[in-house]
Subunit: 330 residues, 2 copies
DNA sequence: CTGAAAGCGCTTACAG
DNA sequence: CTGAAAGCGCTTACAG
């Protein structure tokens, strides 16, 4: 079949011997057409290479089958993986992904305008934030919005996350059980809910058990983790247990520690968060907390589709559990 | 400014005291409007939160400011990086990215229909292939098509690549100069032009210098490289020089070799291709051939914009050079 | 430089 | 279940 330019419903109608409205109905889900005319129309469409013009369609329905996906950190493999899962899940439902990359933590106005002007069916924001003003725009246009792996600063939104607090408590218990007597938490960017929650859960348990700890502030990148690792060595402050706020940073820490001849897990135990593919590589074999991406994506998609069907604008926060993946660094 | 639903050019026209056509002209690049009315209209638009409806627009112009980007291997960090650069470059030009992920080597029909129905301004295909029939669809619709980092099987297309052949010749010369007397080439998926060209350039030089070599076939993944590395060790056939068709696979090879106590670069020298960020990590420090992503993206964008402006459908192949990045594995 | 009007390709009441 | 007709929000000749 060759899709030709300018083949319209009218052309198909003529060939099939029906009205243009009927052709439209055949391609519009939920409209009433008899099985017989449907077949006739479909055959004609196939012959002419017809596909409905999405723009004409959207002009009327005032909505597209496009989901805007806003992403910042493509350097952390976690996010490309998320992107892939979203693309797959939404494709199955007939939706496409408009990919918006933002360099800044806060999404810029022109990106928002793009999303709004293309009348996207919904917006997913992974590792960026939105100003309150902008979120009003989405609400005013009844465009559902989900924060993925990040809680919105304000109460009024919907987010899907791993239960970072609980996970980090588990991690603390696990490390204590493994015999760690002094610990370090290496944070990601401090303005992220993920980093703060992970710290909170971890620290609470340490305090309860009267375990000494120290916090290093880093930035969710490999380089950041590496630098922090070096710093600990230089300061002669390598503890027996380290919880790093994400895997990519943990790999940096691991690199620095190993380079300095610190034996892992004997001298120091390291645990990350995410369970990115790289963590499973035999050369890394990083113990970590798995974020169940597929489950998180499913939850997001489910909410999104419900909101697309009937907009409610409900806020809330879905938390999935994830699980500890024990490997050779502990 | 809050963008409100249903604010149309008509509303702006009324507020500004002009005709709807004039409002349209203000927002349509290249149309004639006096500076004075333009200001008036812009002020009214700002007040009402008006943005032109992209669909109504596209319905007439029969084109969008959307570029379709088809990508398969998001697990190789090279491609997320490419995605980011494209998103950035096109955003600057006012274009958005429709991200199409394909699981299969060959793009599926429904993905093509999506691209076609959304009347994308152009399509970029990174690591996937297209059937000849489908490319006809694009041609018939005068939609420019670029293969990025892959040459089309057929002659009739436009592609942007690193000069893999020349690069691989350099790599062979370099390894020979470093004293390697027997070599291995580890290929990526064999149906990719990149892997074949890299092999060809490499092998030609080795033959000229009468250097013994062996080829292993792998798949462009870390796991594939790791397995191949293990295999070489098991077969007791670790050579003094290894050229791996891409970095992520080279890291796998490196992992396997190091795990087996093979000292690098003393016993064996390893060189990759791409120069992904990870290769520069101190723990890896992989010597590699850099693909100049930014330059490749620029070339692609330039061709794309020219074709969008005036479609010619010319075929061709732009090859950029790249450069050797020497690190600790050689 | 600006306005009135036609029309892009659909969806969707409204009749029948 | 199907057709004729209105209309979504724009762009673009055509006049003036």
């Amino acid at each position: 079949m060759i899709v030709r330019k300018g083949v319209t419903a009218k052309d198909v109608a003529k060939l099939a011997g029906v009205s243009q409205s009927t052709v439209s109905r055949v391609f519009f889900e939920g409209a009433m057409v008899s099985e017989r005319t449907k077949k006739k129309v479909l055959a004609a469409a196939e012959e002419l290479g017809y596909g409905p013009n999405e723009f004409a369609r959207s002009l009327i329905t005032n909505r597209t089958k496009i989901i805007g996906l806003v992403m910042k950190g493509v350097k952390n493999p976690f996010y490309p993986h998320v992107l892939k899962e979203f693309a797959t899940a939404f494709k199955r439902l007939g939706y496409s992904i408009l990919f918006v990359h933002t360099n800044n933590d806060e999404i810029q106005k022109d990106d928002i305008m793009t999303l709004l002007n293309y009348k996207v069916a919904g917006v997913i924001i992974t590792d960026a934030t939105l100003s309150l003003k902008v979120t009003e725009d989405f609400k005013a246009n009844k465009i559902p919005l989900v924060f993925f792996n990040r809680k919105a600063g304000m109460k009024d939104f919907f987010s899907v996350c791993t239960n970072n607090y609980e996970a980090s408590r588990h991690i603390a218990e696990f490390l204590i059980q493994k015999g760690c007597e002094d610990m370090v938490y290496i944070s990601g960017n401090h303005d992220t809910s993920t980093s703060r929650e992970r710290e909170m859960g971890f620290v609470e348990v340490l305090k309860k058990h009267h375990v000494h700890y120290k916090k290093y502030t880093s930035d969710y990148t490999f380089a950041g983790g590496y630098t922090t690792g070096q710093q600990m060595v230089t300061e002669n402050k390598v503890p027996s247990g380290i919880f790093v706020a994400n895997d990519i940073m943990a790999l940096g820490v691991l690199g620095a520690l190993r380079e300095n001849g610190i034996s892992i897990p004997e001298t120091t135990k390291v645990i990350g968060f995410d369970n990115i593919d790289m963590s499973a590589w035999p050369t890394n074999s990083l113990t970590t907390w798995e974020q169940p991406i597929v489950e998180m994506v499913e939850q997001t998609v489910r909410y999104m589709m419900a909101e697309i069907k009937e907009y409610s604008g409900v806020s809330g926060n879905i938390e999935v559990q994830g699980r500890l993946v024990e490997r050779k660094t502990t």
